[in-house]
Amino acid sequence: MTTAAVAAGERIPSGKLAVWWFLASEIMTFGGLLAAFVLCRFAGGGWEDQAAHVNAWIAAVNTLILLTSSLSMVEAHRAVEDGSRGRAATFLLITVLLGLTFLGVKGFEYSRELAHGFTPSTAPFWSFYYGLTGLHALHVLAGVVANAALWIAALRGRGWAQVAPRVEYAGLYWHFVDVVWIFLFPLVYLS
């Protein structure tokens, strides 16, 4: 079903509804952790000294990567709506590769911080840092797996008509993961 059809008052597909319910639970998960981070930071001192050790420029590059992956994901959705399986496969592959690049950069960042002795038990800031960014990275990994499965389905072509609507659902999830990072980035790296 197209977005236009939804706007015209037709029924929302059950798959899409399920994804939104799932995202609602995810809002509570990430929102609760982000709120705990903010409140603990207000309540305790010394966080700024620890936060000064994270590299905002590496995180900015990762933000750019994730924003670009959202563009390729939504272009994959547009390709599905246009009935272009080949273009959908191309954009899904780009999204998968950008997701893997994000994880690679994140891994590099972790290794750099661990090499400097900043572990989750170093200070409360680092517990939150590894907890929040690690949980986010797991979500990126899950999105990469889902998008890779859709990419393979698009390449094969058999049964694509049944699978194609799932590109929109996977896209909703992927953009949500992007939105989470949009708030994580200033919270952890810029403030």
Binding site: A8, F42, A56, L67, L71, R78, H175, V179, I182, S191
Partner: protein, 92 residues
Amino acid sequence: MNDATRFPSYVAVWAWLVALLVVGLACAFLPFGKAMAIFLVFTVAAAKAFLVARHYMHLRSESLLIYAIAGLPVLLLVGLVIALVPDIVFRR
């Protein structure tokens, strides 16, 4: 609904997102006061989230039910934070 309305220029939205990323970084590193910098950085983040939700997640053409599903946990979170602020921030 024509195609241009259904699918806005996603590349233009992406360009805005990248521009806002640069603005956010500038706000963090330019010599504003700490409070002003944090306010600006999170205002920029909210603008980016709005663009992604409205255009990439197509919230601008979604039904009220979807808004309700997504909005309820946000309201609960705001309530949670408001309820905890006095206990955590002001109690020493």
